[in-house]
């Protein structure tokens, strides 16, 4: 599981759901969608310190920033290590907001030519982001 810390900088509510923007640095904000509203979840407050949690198996790896994909949560980093198994590989990525790990297929590691010190983009769908106080 990956855990990043930031502050809530925006909450868009519609019905019972909220799209929450969390600012990690000046340049980097990530978004999460939750089935909560500020009425039901006391931690949904502008400016509140919050943790974003997402599973390493949900982290998509890209090698370029401007890929035509729907994912908006994208964090640039340097590949620290690659642990390769027969089917799956674990990547450790160093980013400006902390380490992130990702588990992708070993086949993809090969296809993308990933190795230590490659520049990568770790991407997570906003519905895979969990919030925690």
């Amino acid at each position: 599981m990956n855990r990043l810390e930031g502050h809530i900088s925006g909450i868009e509510v519609s019905g019972g759901m909220s799209l929450v923007t969390v600012r990690l640095t000046e340049q980097l904000s990530l978004r999460a969608i939750v089935i909560e509203t500020p009425d039901t979840a006391p931690y949904l407050v502008h400016g509140r310190k919050i943790q974003l949690m997402f599973k390493e198996t949900e982290v998509v790896i890209g090698t370029r920033e401007d890929l035509p994909v729907s994912l908006q949560n994208s964090i640039k980093g340097l590949l620290q290590s690659v642990e390769t198994g027969t089917l799956l590989s674990r990547l450790q990525i160093e980013t400006e907001v902390g380490p992130i790990s990702s588990v992708i297929s070993s086949n993809s590691v090969e296809r993308l030519g990933l190795r230590e010190n490659s520049e990568v983009y770790a991407m997570v769908k906003l519905n895979e982001m969990m919030l925690s106080e």
Binding site: M1, T57, V103, E128, M129, M130, E133
Partner: protein, 290 residues
């Protein structure tokens, strides 16, 4: 509404201890006393039942004083209308199961309730057996049924399921919950099992050193932090296996066993038997109509 505010000096295992308990229970509530042994859980239950007399304070139940140190009121246990399940079951060994239940009948009480309770707790087949011939789970069912014969308003259970194996415990939890609802009971349970508390209880009093250290819904007490995942359960780790670069954990959630993939960082702090929160986003599960 049940309200108690009592103080009593106890001789604990580690010397004297001051029991100082304030708690309120609403009618129909299922509450749990949780905490390390020696924290005063059993004493709290015994004070409520009248088996132990506090030094100071009061116990008031539905407006009636059961104990009042100042007015020198101490209603005897038998006049409190309480169902009590002891940790050792306290079944009468020389009586059959049926006789155990019948003995519990009040003066002039209709004995239909005995048959009904035997039916609910599936004891009919054991009616002519004696307690020492029964398994722990069966004895516990008898104890539960017997405690309800006089149709008490308040049911007190002193760690009733602790000595039972997992499967029996789960079945008894179901019986307990069903009886709680069916008889409109106010129930106060002592339990160490977080899974059990989460499943049964709406309110937890966490005791430490003779005081209530924390109270609230079990979610607030036991979940370390509030997590937004809507798909949340507490479970118990049964097995941890490494599969290539990830770990696969086998986890029991109530009476189902599931598998969850986890990373090294999470597994490092875990071992078999640990209680865990299993959470996912509500977006992930898929549903099939059965």
């Amino acid at each position: 509404m049940i309200s108690m505010d009592v103080q009593k000096r106890l001789m604990g295992a580690d010397g004297p201890m001051e029991l100082d308990i304030q708690l309120q229970l609403e009618q129909g509530q299922f509450a749990t006393l949780y905490g390390p042994s020696g924290a005063g859980k059993t004493s709290t239950l015994r004070v409520l039942a009248g088996l132990m007399k506090p030094d100071k304070g009061h116990v008031t139940v539905y407006g009636e004083p059961w104990f009042d140190a100042q007015k020198n009121i101490h209603r005897p246990p038998g006049e409190r209308g309480i169902g009590f399940v002891f940790q050792d079951y306290a079944l009468f060994p020389h009586m059959t199961i049926l006789q155990n239940l019948q003995f519990a009948l009040g003066k002039g009480q209709n004995s239909d309730i005995v048959n009904r309770l035997m039916e609910i707790t599936a004891l009919e087949g054991l009616r002519d057996r004696k307690p020492p011939e029964l398994s722990g789970g069966q004895q516990q069912r008898v104890a539960l049924a017997r405690a309800l014969v006089q149709q008490p308003k308040l049911l007190l259970l002193d760690e009733p399921l602790a000595a039972l194996d997992l499967e029996t415990r789960l079945t008894l939890q179901d019986y307990l919950f069903e009886l709680h609802r069916e008889f409109g009971l106010t129930t106060l349970l002592i339990s160490h099992d977080v899974g059990e508390i989460m499943k049964l209880s709406g309110l937890v009093f966490q005791l430490a050193d003779g005081r209530i250290a924390k109270k609230g819904p079990p979610g607030d007490i036991f979940l370390p932090k509030r997590v937004s995942g809507k798909f949340q359960f507490t479970g118990e780790v049964l097995k941890i296996e490494r599969e290539e670069v990830v770990y696969v954990l086998t986890i029991r959630i109530q009476n189902t066993v599931v598998k969850v993939v986890a990373g090294e960082a999470e597994v490092r702090s875990l071992q078999v038997g640990d209680k865990v929160l299993v959470a996912s986003k509500a977006f992930n599960p898929i549903l099939y109509k059965l």
